[in-house]
Symmetry: C2
Subunit: 328 residues, 2 copies
């Protein structure tokens, strides 16, 4: 029996998620969902260019799907509050969800009441939901937690991720503020419109798993300034303007810093890498030179989570509640 899958959200990430899911022999695509009137009513092949989906259509809501999917791949927004009505409609229909919504990695951090209500709704209707990706969802949270599994005790977790944004797609190059005046960047961060959504959720997930009673999360986000003119495939940044972000989150227990997440994503980044360090007994430090590739890995994380989320008990789940990640 194949797993019936619907694709909720047909933007660039949604299309890539659908493309990967449709290629898996254990998946049957049963529908698409998108609010764009240009897409609704057309076939998924017409809308996405993916062959073999000529007879599967795009609908404007969950309720209109002709077949109930086992799981929806949800790739619409980054904020939990914006995703919540969509997730509620899926939960009420008893449809499980794997989502790339960054804040869904640990939704109770910013909205404990909304998360608790969604959890109750999932349990009532037998739906499982989880948020995942590569960051958040793996490099700065699930992987360090996994490494602690061979530690007698852990004193501190530090993750540094440096991404060379020059090799990434245009939306990422824009998202990190490329070309902005540094003061404009700082103003946007203060207004909650700049920075990596999900970084504080990664930290909160690590603290939750290690049962660390952390104090408030300290967050800084500074522009990386171009030290010379930079030209990528998509855009140009003049010397002195913003060419990326340096976003940090940390938290302490009783005044002692126990988690430090350091994320740098900028154009022409030097020594891109992932460094996952668990200071403990024993101390473990794994380094990925180059760093785990973001876009392709995020889509994979979403599709790969499907079989595991379907085996888990109903509810709003965490990636660390599921069995060990594995390609599917």
């Amino acid at each position: 029996m194949k797993t019936k899958v619907a694709q909720f959200g047909l933007g660039p990430i949604g299309i890539e998620t659908l493309r990967l899911a449709a290629a898996k022999p254990w998946v049957e695509i049963v529908g698409g969902i998108d609010i764009d009137p240009q897409k609704v009513g057309r076939s998924l092949t017409e809308v996405t260019g993916i062959k073999g989906l000529e007879s599967v259509r795009v609908y404007s809501s969950v309720e209109q799907l002709p077949v109930k999917p086992d799981v929806a791949l949800h790739t619409t927004v980054s904020r939990f509050k914006a995703a919540l009505p969509q997730l509620q409609s899926l939960a009420r229909a008893g449809i499980s969800v794997v989502s790339s919504c960054e804040e869904l990695l640990f939704p109770r951090l910013k909205d404990p009441a909304g998360a608790a209500e969604l959890d109750a709704l999932c349990q009532k209707h037998g739906a499982r939901m989880v948020g995942t990706g590569v960051n958040p969802g793996f490099v700065m949270d699930v992987l360090p937690v996994c490494l602690t599994g061979v530690c007698r005790s852990v004193g501190k977790i530090e993750v540094t991720r440096v991404v060379n944004a020059s090799s990434r797609r245009l939306p990422l190059q824009k998202k990190i503020g490329s070309g902005l005046d540094p003061e404009e960047f700082r103003r946007l961060f203060r207004e909650g419109k700049m920075g990596h959504v999900g970084l504080v959720e990664s930290l909160a997930l690590v603290a939750h798993c290690l049962k660390w009673p952390i104090g408030p999360i300290k967050e800084t986000c500074e522009p990386v300034i171009a030290t010379e003119d930079i030209k990528t495939e998509f855009l140009e940044v003049k010397k002195g303007l913003t060419c990326g972000i340096h976003h940090r989150a940390e938290a302490a227990v009783h005044g002692q810093t126990v988690i430090e997440l350091d994320l740098q994503m900028y154009l022409d980044a030097i020594n891109p890498r992932d460094v996952v360090r668990v200071a403990g007994d024993p101390t473990i430090e794994f380094v990925e030179t180059g760093g785990v590739q973001g876009d392709r890995a995020t889509v994979a994380a979403v599709v790969n989570a499907v079989p595991r989320v379907l085996k888990a008990p109903p509810g709003l789940l965490l990636m660390t509640d599921l069995s060990v990640p594995c390609v599917s």
Copy 2:
């Protein structure tokens, strides 16, 4: 409510496992089990030197435990066949097990019938069982599987682990054949008395998780020859004699090698490290310079698995069936 734990096996690893478990605030030690008549009837503090266990005794069998534990930490033997009667007695008593028995990582490889019977017994009596450790149990199996969780597809898994045995305890230095004539080493390997128990189980677990229909596992185990006289804290090896093992296991699908595990454990090893490489889309390679410390990490892996195994459904389980590893 604390988790009631019994320690089955009071050799050096068993004592270290018990020491770590007894220090966890969520654990209550309710008994020890050992066949050594010198230990039976005495208190765990007398036998192990661990304080606070003065009123907890050592028994010669599971049946004699005065309190039923939730879980037994089982650290007696490396071979599944030798462990089986002990595991059966635990299963019949409905006691769950986390074991350092290397072959229990993937027991169906060498004894599918024995594993199936034990699984049925566990399900009948509501017991959960899992074998774990650092190797096998993490570096060469669970960790590479976990990394595939962010891959769209995987073509090959390669793990290289180089351990400097000079910094390890005497039993390990002996186990790797230190001081043996190379021909004697090779004879012992042919007789199944030399080599790293669990290496082929690591490979089989990876293949199982990735659903790869591998052919026969190819295994080689060669002595590492001392190129000069070596002196450790515990022993001396003359130039020309064995100072360690180089044990490899690999397997292919349709003639294409898809898993390669390369384990080198020798005295004065150069560049000790763990290299976990998943060749796929994307390719991911994490390196631990120095390598994850074996003994301390193995004991931790066993104790840390307890909360996760108790949440899993009854049966003979794999580490990859449990939720993401985490320090407990």
